[in-house]
Symmetry: C2
Subunit: 328 residues, 2 copies
């Protein structure tokens, strides 16, 4: 019997293992147009924490007792959809399980870019697109800009660093701990801030003595405050995530918010799905940079469906360098 | 001897009377091209608090012991500038004093709009332009939008309410106390929030059950948080001022900031001087609305140069309805 993780109880604060239950799911015969997929790679992403709350947001909350959803990559093992024959490698949104039945028109065949399948859950998938459109469209970053990106060792942040460098920008990344900072530096970052080593406001002021023009926010909190203080005239902030508060939900305390007035800062929130129709631009540019050897990737892999809650929780404790994945 | 207010000591927190000193200033002979102006009306504005700190900002700090500056309206009483003869009514930036010597090319003749002179320090001056460009350009507000404006009984806010109504928008204004709220309602506001009567977050949620598309911020703090919670998809926030923190400088605590992501909120700070080159648009539209009887005005007037610090401090304790002025 296929198995899936369901949400047993809505977490308050940091989720615990007991909030999740591994349940058996039906292996029903396929309907016309459907395919059965053996999942090989499952994605865990910070945004999923929001779906565990019973709050209307840009994606509906997970239903209690039902299999959760998320990005997944697998292989078609049975097909009643002519366009997606057995053996096709596909990406779809019925993750958190080892087997999925999906309408053939709701899966995406993996583009042929010469990267391993699992890269389409990271740098060549949703996190990569988030980095690409957030930096280049939402923040409108240009070659002469000084860019600060938080969580720069994460799936999104590490791609922001590399796209920024490929475009000729100056980049400062923040990460937690010497190992991650060293990796971010190896990706081309001009300077790195270790937020675990001390006050991030002071550290950014030192790392960016000329200030910053763009802030790509994955974190919120002190990182956002540091960016406000460092912001130059007409700075643009793309707000992608605020992982600092996904669990505790506490108010964010900002000492330098009034700087938006004098420095005419523009702060803009965004969701990558708004840019899905422009995926071709992303694949074209990323394919080019990949061919030029300008893109590196790291994955932190947990093995087995059983490990999925641990992988998810690791996102909030800095457990990953690059994309966090589960290999089924 | 002419007299001027100078800054004796830099205030910490709310300024005290002892931070200001009324000093005699030179009444030197005019140089070529200069005019001597007998000031009739002096402006006090919240932004002046920022100039009292020794901090680089979009305007330089006031120098200790020197006459302070600010908007003023007066009459030319002596002239060595052919284009500005004796008797001309002018606006200029050497306020906080009863007499000023200014190069003739740095004064503006009052436009002929049929309003009293002092209106050019308020609704037809810098505060009015702030309202006009902040609402229509920075926030890009349109007829179908629901607009929330804080400090709606102030010089800027009361003009935002009236421009928004003239343009067919739905408007909710906040003000402190029943009298001010009644005045804001009389200006055409569809709903009013009395921030002194209770929690502004809850009050806005009740006053705007459908949410808001635009927030014009004069206050920051709880008002900003209320606007974040109420914001609909693609809401735009024009950040004009944050009077809540001009004195105490304490961090702003925002519970709903993460909403910028899901609702794709755009927050933009601005300074009215960026729009000075477009003053003609402002005078054209305001003149039209004035002729149509769509603009009302209120002024809170203190009499005599001696009263100037009291007038200024009153800005921070809700002492004004409409524009706060000093009549010399």
């Amino acid at each position: 019997m296929p198995r899936a993780w369901s949400l047993k109880s809505r977490p308050h604060g940091m989720p615990r293992g007991s909030d999740f239950a591994l349940v058996e799911i039906d292996s029903a015969p396929l309907g016309e147009g459907e395919v059965r997929i053996a999942n090989r790679w499952l994605s865990v992403d910070p945004y999923m924490r929001g779906r565990m709350n019973d709050v209307k947001s840009y994606v509906p909350p997970f239903a209690l007792g039902e299999p959760m959803q998320g990005g997944a990559i697998g292989e078609v093992v049975e097909s009643r959809a002519a366009s997606v024959p057995v053996g096709t490698k596909v990406q779809h949104m019925l993750g958190w399980r080892d087997e999925a039945v999906v309408p053939g028109d709701q899966v995406q065949k993996l583009p042929d870019l010469g990267v391993p399948d699992e890269a389409f859950l990271g740098q060549f998938g949703m996190p990569g697109m988030t980095a690409y459109f957030g930096l280049l469209e939402v923040a409108d970053a240009k070659a002469e800009d000084i860019v600060f990106v938080s969580a720069a060792a994460g799936a999104v942040g590490s791609t922001v660093v590399q796209i920024a460098k490929a475009k000729g920008m100056t980049v400062i990344g923040s990460a937690g701990g010497a190992d991650k900072c060293a990796w971010v530096k190896s990706l081309g970052a001009d300077a790195v801030v270790d937020y675990k080593a001390g006050d991030v406001v002071r550290a950014l002021a030192e790392a960016a003595p000329k200030g910053i023009d763009v802030y790509f926010d994955n974190v919120g909190g002190d990182h956002l405050d540091a960016a406000l203080l460092a912001a130059r005239m007409d700075a643009r902030f793309a707000i992608c995530g605020m992982i600092d508060i996904y669990n505790d939900g506490k108010p964010q305390s900002l000492k330098y918010l009034a700087k938006v007035i004098g420095a005419r800062i523009a702060i803009k929130g965004f969701i990558v799905s708004d840019y899905m129709a422009r995926a071709a631009e992303f694949y074209r540019d990323m394919g080019g940079w990949l061919a030029e050897g300008k893109l590196q990737r790291e994955e932190t892999v947990h093995d087995g469906l059983d490990a999925m809650p641990d992988a998810f929780l690791g996102l909030f404790t800095g457990g990953n360098t690059g994309k966090m994945l589960v290999r089924v």
